[in-house]
Symmetry: C2
Subunit: 226 residues, 2 copies
């Protein structure tokens, strides 16, 4: 049997607002229904960011709890992945929802630049987030914004800080981080095959590159991510 | 004629102390004589960090001025490259010596992790340092701690923020950044050949990897760096 391709949907993200796109789900009710539609269309992982009532990003555990409750009810069996990304909070605030024991959570393992600032993930914060994920049985999705992040994830896997089979996302197209580049994508895939052949991986191209990068993933044997 | 290989010596760095190695040149007089020895042995670029009297790193322009004066006198024609790295100061302090118009200066173009902290190079600071280098006619040595930094350097070269022919250093072996890895080195070289075929590049392997990485450089047509 061919290896199944996982579709992971990031329904909200932390950046777009209703002003950018009226269809962006902001309230928990909107997020649950958007996830439900994706679930019915075949998505099996939902990657979640939550928002305040005014649309700004937050790491509020209560919002995450309500979202998890709604998704569990409307989408039985769907894998719930919370974002611990740095646009929704700072420092350990970013992992304050991990005690809710989502199935997965995103985990940065290095630092890089974003369009207007440094995406700061200190070694100490990374270790703390990885430790919380081990404690609460949460499987990390590694967010690889650059090549060394793949090497770092493999090192953390080998020394037990990230147990089990790695799940890595290549993020491409964020300004001042890694651009969308086919040669880089192919090298990322070869690096995974060389250093962690059992691992799963997917890739996300930001904005207009989304479909293109997902097509590369499907053709190369990876999973897909919006 | 074969392409000449440039030897660039980093005589002091910002980390080692006399306690680590009594031969590390700390005072300006020691630095000038260490540079003089390397110059006589064939080095043509000197990469400089300066230190306070107690050995701690600093970005003090007066120290850099005295070092430049000594090196100009003892090593006529040697190319002087100042470090603007983040271990010797923070923010714009790191570029306070650029008005001295050294021939070259190091320039980070992205952020990454160091052994115990984030190496923070915000987009704003990078643009400011690059602008100072243009203003004072200082040629940057790009410090590529990760693959995306090469892409960023090429983008800055294409839009004029880094004029002229790129000079890129691949830094390998810093804990929590890119490890020393032959496949990565080869891909870095292929990336340079693809995106900036006219550029010059070198690589540094930290500590015990220094000779090994320099041998890779020489064999692949690059320059060398300690
Ligand atoms: Zn996300
Ligand atoms: Zn529903
Ligand atoms: Zn240096
Ligand atoms: Zn001398």
């Amino acid at each position: 049997m061919a290896k199944p391709c996982i579709i992971c949907v990031a329904i909200t993200g932390s950046v777009p607002t209703k002003a950018d796109n009226p269809a962006v789900p902001i309230t928990v009710a909107e997020q649950v229904e958007s996830t439900h539609e994706a679930f019915e269309a075949g998505a099996s992982i939902m990657h979640a960011h939550v928002r305040n009532d005014d649309g700004t990003p937050t790491s509020d555990p209560d919002r995450f709890a309500r979202l998890m409750e709604g998704v569990r009810k409307h989408c039985p069996g769907m894998i719930i992945q919370f974002s611990t990304g740095g646009r929704s909070g700072s420092g350990r605030e970013r992992g304050g929802m991990l005690p809710l024991r989502p199935d997965m959570a995103s985990l940065a393992v290095g630092s890089n630049n974003f369009p207007t600032r440094v995406y700061e993930n200190s070694p100490e914060l990374i270790d703390w987030l990885a430790g919380e994920m081990r404690e609460y049985g949460v499987k990390p999705e590694i967010e690889a914004f650059d090549l060394s992040h793949i090497h770092q994830a493999v090192a953390m896997n080998r020394n037990g800080r990230i147990p089990g089979r790695l799940y890595v996302q290549f993020v491409m197209g964020v300004k001042n981080a890694m651009p969308v580049d086919r040669e880089v994508f192919d090298f990322y895939v070869r690096t995974m095959e060389r250093l962690a052949p059992e691992a799963d991986w997917c890739a996300a191209g930001i904005g207009r590159h989304q479909i293109e990068v997902n097509e590369w993933c499907v053709a190369a044997g990876g999973h897909t991510r919006t």
